[in-house]
Amino acid sequence: MARVIVDVMPKPEILDPQGKAVTGALQRLGFEGLTVRQGKRFEVDVEGELTDERLQQVRDAAEKLLANTVIEGFDVRVEQ
């Protein structure tokens, strides 16, 4: 069974309050110079052979449901 990773991140121009909160907490803990933006990682297990068509289906699923392309970008890759 192949595993496909979908990373979803807020677009650079969109405010990321969660990332800002994490960044602030890191600073208070003494981790300096670390700026965080927070996204989501989806691990998608694909039954059967991972053909180009199947991979395209995962991209379609990412575009339709996993990401909201108004505010988020996504990246689809096969886990080696």
Binding site: I14, P17, K20, N68, V70
Partner: protein, 226 residues
């Protein structure tokens, strides 16, 4: 008396308050279940506030694909009045019935207060009984109410008079241009973060401005039918 549907998703919170508001406004509330595929001939639909599907993935993202939403999206395209309140607004954005998206409040806290708003457009089914520029008070309570869209979309909304409500005083959540509510190009679909269903009675509300939403849709429906 009109039949106004109120959709209940798993995790809806204010569906009963919305039904009650419909009743107080003199209409017949029709409960609509998310898993059903019929709007039961209602003349308008309210998508209520709450946390549909636990806000999993994104607020409104999973509710948008429930069977009843297929019907709502089609009917909205044919002109059915649809009002999305808070989580309902998020569902409408996820459905692309309204542009933009709602993200986590910039203040990073849940905000709950009586919110002053200005009515920016009375050219909608849900606001035609307000006066242009009227200042109203509606309950606001949300954690993810920051309205965002790309600059072209914001410019188009402003240029086409599709910003329906704007926050007055402090912007509670970082919404671009202080936008509290928007409409589609036809004016039959309106979404807003504040909760007009909570502003129906003196006992529990600082204002009765929620009633005007229902007076508006009543006027619209009377004009259409009459």
């Amino acid at each position: 008396m009109s039949r106004i549907g109120v959709v209940t998703f798993p995790g809806s919170l204010d569906d009963h308050d919305a039904q009650r508001a419909v009743r107080l406004a003199g209409h017949e509330p029709v409960p609509l279940w998310h898993a059903h595929e019929s709007l039961q001939g209602v003349q308008a639909v309210i998508l209520p506030g709450g946390f549909s599907y636990g806000d999993y993935l994104r607020c409104g993202a999973i509710a948008r694909f429930s069977p009843i939403m297929t019907e709502v999206i089609q009917a909205a395209g044919e002109g059915l009045p649809v009002l999305g309140i808070c989580n309902g607004f998020q569902v409408l954005c996820e459905s692309h019935l309204l542009p933009g998206a709602l993200i986590r409040n910039d203040v990073r806290t849940f905000v709950c207060r009586d919110q002053r708003l200005r009515v920016e457009s009375i050219d909608t089914v849900w606001t035609c009984e307000f006066e242009q520029g009227q200042e109203i008070v509606i309950v606001l309570k949300n954690g993810e109410g920051g309205f965002v869209a790309d600059p072209d979309t914001i410019a188009r909304l402003e240029g086409e008079n599709r910003v329906v409500f704007r926050y007055l005083d402090d912007n509670p959540n970082g919404s671009l241009n202080d936008i509290a509510g928007v409409t589609n190009d036809r004016g039959n679909v309106v979404g807003l973060m504040p909760h007009p269903e909570h502003n129906m009675e003196e006992l529990t509300s600082p204002s009765l401005d929620g009633r005007t939403f229902f007076a508006s849709v009543e006027r619209y429906l009377a004009a259409v039918v009459g």
